[in-house]
Amino acid sequence: MIWLIFAFGVWGLGWWVNTRLAAAPRTRVTGLVVPLIFGITLIAIWEGVVRGLEISPVLLPAPSMIAARFVASTDILWEDFVQTVIKGALSGYVLGCGSAFLVAILVDRYDFLRQGLLPVGNFVAALPVIGMAPILVMWFGFDWQSKAAVVVVMVFFPMLVNTVQGLADSSAMQRDLMRTYAAGYWATLLKLRLPAAMPFIFNGLKIASTLALIGAIVAEFFGSPIRGMGFRISTSVGQLALDLVWAEIVVAAVVGSAFYGIVALVERAVTFWHPSQRHS
């Protein structure tokens, strides 16, 4: 009962503080603190409700339990992280995005190809590509190569479509200007069209960053060696060791956010000239 009151108390307090802060003029500090308080409040309510209602840890472990388990099994988590993220997701991400980028430049040279490939690519990007996972696991075996292949297939089309669209983004006037400078195809590509395409390319890279992690983890449900995040999640669910599952989820969430954040930071550095990046 005390824990329930605690949960409600924290809720009220967090809400009150946030309302006060939100009413104040917006600064960089409040922009960071307000969501932080919201998140801490959520975790505190979770802890309070789980303890207050005595929910079985088989259903929903308390955050403190998850944290304890996380600290206790860092070696397992690290092994899974290397297997899934470094070997599976990252290699697939680099391969998939790189090849999509090259294909996009190739496609862009031929108008006919572009007109044909863009609708098809858009169509494929909307399909449940993740369903290819069992087939690719069958082709490339259980180890990380098949996970990388799934990631390649998943990120290829979103990246392709975005890059092709980006390369078409420079206006006719700008291209005419390059022609008056007597710039050839490559000079125009490097000096004008690629820089102009950067916002689109980074949009594709961002979408691909979340897809890569999902692809690598889900592909492990269809068969994997005895390590990896997807493997650990599916077996630990079977053993009702939900605290370990949640620890893996924490890792996945942190990795996913960090991955996205890094891409966003690089974007800010590269496309500093774009209106969406200008902050007053």
Binding site: V58, I130, I217, V245
Partner: protein
């Protein structure tokens, strides 16, 4: 639109050609293996014929998948457990339920975010952060836990679909509800419009183009959610279960037919929303 028909057809034809060639290449090993065991010499024609008609090929040829789809949709009774239509319906119902829940939640959150500063500042960053979590990875746990609580069947799968589809709706609707510019909002004020009138007459109508774009993304995402949600239920029913069962027993043709069916379903659902979008926007005089 019309001038892109020929290029699209060319690309699609190219994909089919590559598919057929790849199935020769990938299945050749097995065909040679079989031939040496029975002591036969394989000619080019015999090789091609064999690679396109194996029972469990590494990559089935398109016509094999086509025959399998025909067999399991038209030839079978809909109620039969081997009918692909039956499995598609299971997946579709979870998708639609999750999509409806996700759209509702997304619009409600977006209205809250636009009208409440506290919500804007505290919820919006978490909405974005929530999508960097690979939710599909924890789908099995959600299903198992909800099963343990006594919720089973359609709802757990729909929850996953909901989680995946609410995000594009929130982002699109927030953008859409904020799209009227200061001039239009001032105009409403000169007419002495109440906040609810501003919402119904100005903000909601001007958010429609954004809404439909997000609905398309959300629909595709919720189908993926429903399919992945079916994996851990032990391959009972649904397109995801067909995929899993196919991968257990090496039935590649079954996997491919489920995959093509899922693709067709996604395309049909997105096309329906596209149609609704065109009709709605035309009646509103926006397209």
């Amino acid at each position: 639109m019309r001038q892109s028909v020929l290029p699209v057809l060319t690309v699609v034809a190219g994909i089919f050609v590559i598919w057929y060639l790849a199935s020769i290449w990938l299945n050749a090993a097995w065909a040679y293996d079989k031939a040496t065991r029975s002591g036969e010499e394989l000619g080019v024609v015999a090789l091609v014929a064999d690679t396109w008609s194996q029972e469990k090929p590494k990559l089935p040829a398109p016509h094999q998948v086509g025959v399998e789809i025909w067999d399991t949709t038209i030839e079978k009774k809909i109620t039969s457990k081997r009918s692909l239509i039956y499995h598609s319906w299971i997946t579709l119902s979870a998708t639609l339920l999750g999509f409806a829940l996700g759209t509702g939640l997304g619009i409600a959150l977006a209205v809250g975010i636009v009208y409440n500063r506290t919500m804007d500042m505290s919820v919006m960053p978490w909405v974005i952060a929530s999508q960097t979590i690979p939710i599909l990875a924890i789908a099995p746990m959600i299903i198992v836990v909800l099963n343990a609580v006594g919720i089973s069947g359609l709802l757990p799968k729909a929850m996953i679909s909901m989680y995946l589809s609410f995000f594009p709706v929130v982002v699109g609707m927030v953008k859409g509800l904020r799209s009227p510019d200061a001039m239009q909002l001032d105009q409403m004020r000169t007419w002495n419009a109440s906040p609810s009138q501003t919402f119904w007459r100005l903000r909601l109508p001007s958010s429609m183009p954004y809404l439909f774009t997000s609905l398309k993304i959300g629909m595709a995402a919720s189908l993926v959610g429903a399919i992945v949600g079916e994996l851990p239920t032990g391959a009972v029913a649904g397109l995801g279960a067909r995929l899993l069962a196919g991968s257990y027993y090496g039935q590649t043709i079954q996997i491919w037919s489920a995959l093509i069916m899922a693709a067709a379903l996604a395309a049909a659902l997105v096309a329906i929303i596209g149609l609704l979008q065109r009709v709605t926007l035309r009646r509103m005089g926006m397209a």
